[in-house]
């Protein structure tokens, strides 16, 4: 048994955020149907692809986020397609949708207020207001959210994080709320409609600079890299790469000073008094760097963690999977993904976001991501369409 066994979720829109929103449902046991246009969901078009050959079934985000779902290729721009969707929604617990706002309003308007599923509508700016119909993407919602500004150096352009990190966060916000809405309805019988506006979901989260500013006018200095004011904070070079410190405050700072052979520095007000420490940054750094230069990043990690210092090695994508903790916990898993040819693709994804009742639990079980329209026939069978009716839909270009 998986924790979400028996739940039925319908995903509409094919965007990155919608695909992310339903992934955890699927991996933890719910039945998820991905309704996508016969031309394929947007999430299928995002690189990287194996051997850089674009294909609707082998995009990395599709293979990572559409795990275990069933794909129904359906043109919702037709009455025929909408009839199929309305049958699919009968008995569903949740509809997660992202469409252009006028289409989204129309879709939600067709959900029965009493017997229909709970809904989560994903948008950029919300369903109302002067910007409601604006199109945004990962880059622009990130700029709106105030994060890009903080993630920059004064005088240079603000930066996003890794591509699509913003949209993934929006999707996980939507997924969490969808499950809460299902739970709430079980408790009090009330159907709920949730609206997740990407800009609000990012701007309202805890790392938003707006909140800090709104409390005390704080604007973090955009000096980049190693902080001169709160140190050590940031990446420092060592023998074979870099380590990342977050060790400015007690007890971490005195612990670090002891470990590198300058115990007196840990309590010296020149380095600990907020009013003085900035002007002594170079002195501190000149003592730390030679110590780091003779050591490898993992040696520093283990030695300083044992001494009670918050530090971590900076790893690249080739290193994260062979890290000792990743290996011990099987933090990454490899799936056999059906590819365009006969041979499956060996595809590695990050594992469970949390472990439920032990590392060996079967609560989280990702299946392969579906080919476009792979389960269209199977689903139309389940929805009671005869084979002649299914051919009629196919002949009319509604299904694929």
């Amino acid at each position: 048994m998986q924790p979400l066994d028996g739940l039925r979720v319908v995903e509409v829109g094919g965007t990155i955020a919608a695909g992310v929103a339903t992934k955890r449902f699927s991996d933890f046991g719910a039945s998820v149907v991905k309704v996508e246009p016969p031309t394929g969901a947007e999430i299928r078009r995002i690189a990287p692809f194996p051997d850089d050959r674009p294909h609707l079934d082998t995009g990395a985000l599709h293979m990572a986020f559409d795990t275990g779902k069933r794909s129904l290729a359906l043109d919702l721009g037709t009455p025929s397609g909408r009839e199929v969707l309305s049958r699919l929604l009968e008995g569903a617990d949740l509809l997660v949708a992202q469409l252009p706002v006028p289409e989204l309003r129309a879709l939600l308007g067709r959900v029965d207020a009493e017997s229909g599923p709970s809904t989560v509508a994903i948008t950029a700016h919300g369903m109302d207001g002067p910007y409601a119909e604006r199109a945004e993407n990962d880059l622009t919602i990130f700029g709106w959210s105030t994060r890009a500004h903080r993630h920059s150096v004064q005088g240079r352009e603000p930066l996003r994080y890794a591509p699509n990190a913003g949209l993934v966060q929006v999707g996980n916000t939507a997924g969490m709320l969808g499950l809460v809405a299902i739970w709430g309805r079980r408790q009090d019988g009330r159907r709920r409609d949730v609206e997740v506006a990407g800009v609000e979901a990012l701007m309202g989260n805890v790392d938003s600079s707006f909140f800090l500013w709104a409390v005390n006018g704080a604007v973090q200095p955009r000096s980049g890299g190693q902080s001169r004011r709160i140190y050590p904070m940031g990446a420092y070079p060592c023998k074979d790469g870099h380590v990342l410190f977050s060790a400015a405050r007690a007890p971490f700072f005195p612990n670090l000073c002891r470990a590198i052979g300058y115990p007196e520095m840990g309590t010296d007000p020149r380095f600990t008094d907020p009013a003085q420490r900035e002007e002594h940054f170079e002195e501190f750094r000149d003592r730390l760097l030679p110590w780091l230069a003779t050591r490898n990043k993992y040696d520093i990690f283990h030695e300083l963690q044992a001494a009670g210092v918050m530090v971590a090695p900076v790893l690249d994508a080739s290193e994260v999977m062979v890290d000792a903790q990743s290996q011990a916990r099987s933090s990454y898993v490899t799936l056999a993904q059906p590819g365009p040819g006969d041979e499956p693709i060996e595809f590695t994804i990050p594992g469970a976001p949390y472990r439920m009742n032990g590392l060996d639990s079967d609560a989280w079980q990702p299946g392969p991501a579906p080919r476009l329209g792979e389960q269209t026939g199977e689903l139309l069978d389940e929805l009671g369409y005869t084979r002649d009716e299914q051919i009629a839909l196919f002949r009319a270009g509604v299904t694929g």
């Binding site: 924790p3 979400l4 990287p48 990572a64 109302d128 207001g129 910007y131 622009t140 700029g143 105030t146 890009a148 240079r156 352009e157 603000p158 930066l159 890794a162 699509n164 990190a165 966060q169 996980n172 916000t173 997924g175 499950l179 809460v180 809405a181 739970w183 709430g184 009090d188 009330r190 709920r192 949730v194 609206e195 997740v196 506006a197 800009v199 609000e200 701007m203 309202g204 805890v206 790392d207 707006f210 709104a214 409390v215 005390n216 904070m233 990342l244 907020p274 963690q305 009670g308 918050m310 900076v314 994508a317 994260v320 933090s331 590695t348 990050p350 594992g351 949390y354 439920m356 009742n357």
Partner: protein
């Protein structure tokens, strides 16, 4: 609060900084009864005792009640301050566990066991309670007991190595706390899953969330570049390898920036029209096709950049958006107040607080009908609900007074040295 989807759910928070506490505020927004068990007599990381501190607002009253990082991560909960390392304080926690549906803790791995409240003990005290542990590297594995904040998980998950300016170095990399934003979304999802599991089994579940593992689920393409094509992902800045234009351009005015992207030929044609160069999108022009724009990336970026610099960022974005092009200003920390959209949606929240009076703070991550979230409880003061909560747990007034006199509970931290 005023949300009711999680009404009746009882949550105990034994957690500092953001990933645990902010998640508990979200759960509070959704209607749960959340009790924050504040560390005592040691102050928490988000409650500094001394000024000056860039996190602290000017004003009267205790320094630790005026902290920006604390205030906005702690709405919609009650607060008790208890020294759980004393036998009497541990008894308070035992009673809370008997009361609760969920215990959230974010100590380094092994700490909660040494405190006498490991999962087996908690489960024995109350078989129906679930527990979420948020140690950075998880509960099991060779890094047992290691300590870090989100900036370190970001470095170790491979994210830091792809952030930053394409021409930059690792030493220039700006530390971020992305996992503090993403981890709460995951553990709340897991918590509801545990509630559903309890309906079948009658028993609570244990969630071991390693923050580094959860963070990595947000960036699966990083390892995909490596495993599919044996290539390390690079620092892209704001560019996209396959979409041109896609970037952040300097707008008119000082330190002003506008993000612009044309994801297909239609958007590109609209952009070209707005910029006064419809010929850029006409058949035969080298920039008319998506492939041509990738080929001539630098020239396209320069042309778009010249247009972006011709006016204020908001005006540029307004004109491009009116034509259906993805474009938006880049907001500095106080700039959200300039957004007509956020005002039209009544997103901002007026919040009063004894030591941070009348602030206009940010709003919620979602709307929910019929029971949307509301900021019913400002961040509580240290120990503000000691008497109320301990009373509910069965302590008499005399007992509460004795606990206070013995220093087991309290409502203030020591003043500046």
């Amino acid at each position: 609060m005023s949300g009711e989807a999680l009404r009746g759910l009882r949550v105990v928070e034994l957690s500092e900084v953001w990933a645990g506490p902010f998640g508990c505020s979200l759960v509070g927004d959704l209607g749960a009864d959340v009790i924050k068990l504040e560390t005592y007599p040691r102050n928490s990381e988000t409650r500094p005792l001394r000024e000056p501190d860039p996190r602290v607002a000017d004003g009267d009253g205790p320094v630790y009640e005026r902290v920006n990082t604390h205030h906005h991560g702690n709405r919609n909960k009650r607060n008790i301050a208890v020294d759980v390392r004393t036998p009497e304080g541990a008894e308070v926690l035992r009673r809370l566990i008997g009361w609760a549906d969920l215990l959230v803790e974010s100590f380094s791995a092994g700490t909660i066991d040494r405190m006498g409240f490991g999962w087996e003990t908690v489960h024995a005290l109350n078989p129906r309670v679930s527990m979420v542990s948020l140690a950075g590297w998880g509960q099991e594995g060779p890094y047992d007991g290691y300590v870090m904040f989100g900036v370190g998980f970001d470095a170790m998950a491979g994210h830091a190595s792809v952030r930053g300016y394409p021409d930059g170095t690792m030493a220039d990399m700006i530390p971020i706390l992305h996992s503090d934003a993403t981890v709460p979304l995951a553990w709340i999802f897991g918590m509801v899953g545990a509630l559903m599991e309890r309906e079948r089994t009658g028993e609570g579940s244990y969630l071991d969330l390693a923050q580094i593992e959860e963070l990595s689920t947000n960036v699966p393409q990083l390892i995909a570049e490596w495993t599919l094509n044996h290539r390390l992902p690079q620092r892209l800045g704001d560019s996209d390898p396959h979409i041109v234009p896609h970037g952040c351009y300097r707008a008119g005015g000082e330190d002003a920036w506008v993000n612009i992207a044309a994801q297909d030929d239609r958007q590109w044609g609209a952009l070209a029209g707005v910029a006064g160069h419809p010929e850029w999108a006409e058949d035969g022009h080298p920039w008319a096709s998506a492939a041509g724009r990738v080929r001539e990336r630098a020239a396209v970026d320069a042309a778009v950049g010249a247009y972006a610099a011709s006016d204020d960022a908001w005006a540029i974005a307004d004109r491009l958006q009116a034509a259906g092009v993805i474009a938006a200003p880049v907001l500095a920390p106080g700039d959200p107040l300039l957004s007509p959209q956020l005002h039209a949606r009544e997103w901002f929240q007026a919040v009063d607080h004894p030591y941070l009076p009348n602030r206009l703070l940010g709003g919620f991550l979602w709307r929910m009908r019929p029971d949307g979230p509301a900021w019913d409880r400002r961040a509580a003061l240290v120990g503000e609900h000691n008497a109320e909560v301990l009373g509910e747990l069965g302590y008499g007034a005399g007992e509460i007074e004795a606990l206070s006199a013995a220093g087991v509970i309290g409502d203030r931290y020591p003043g500046p040295a």
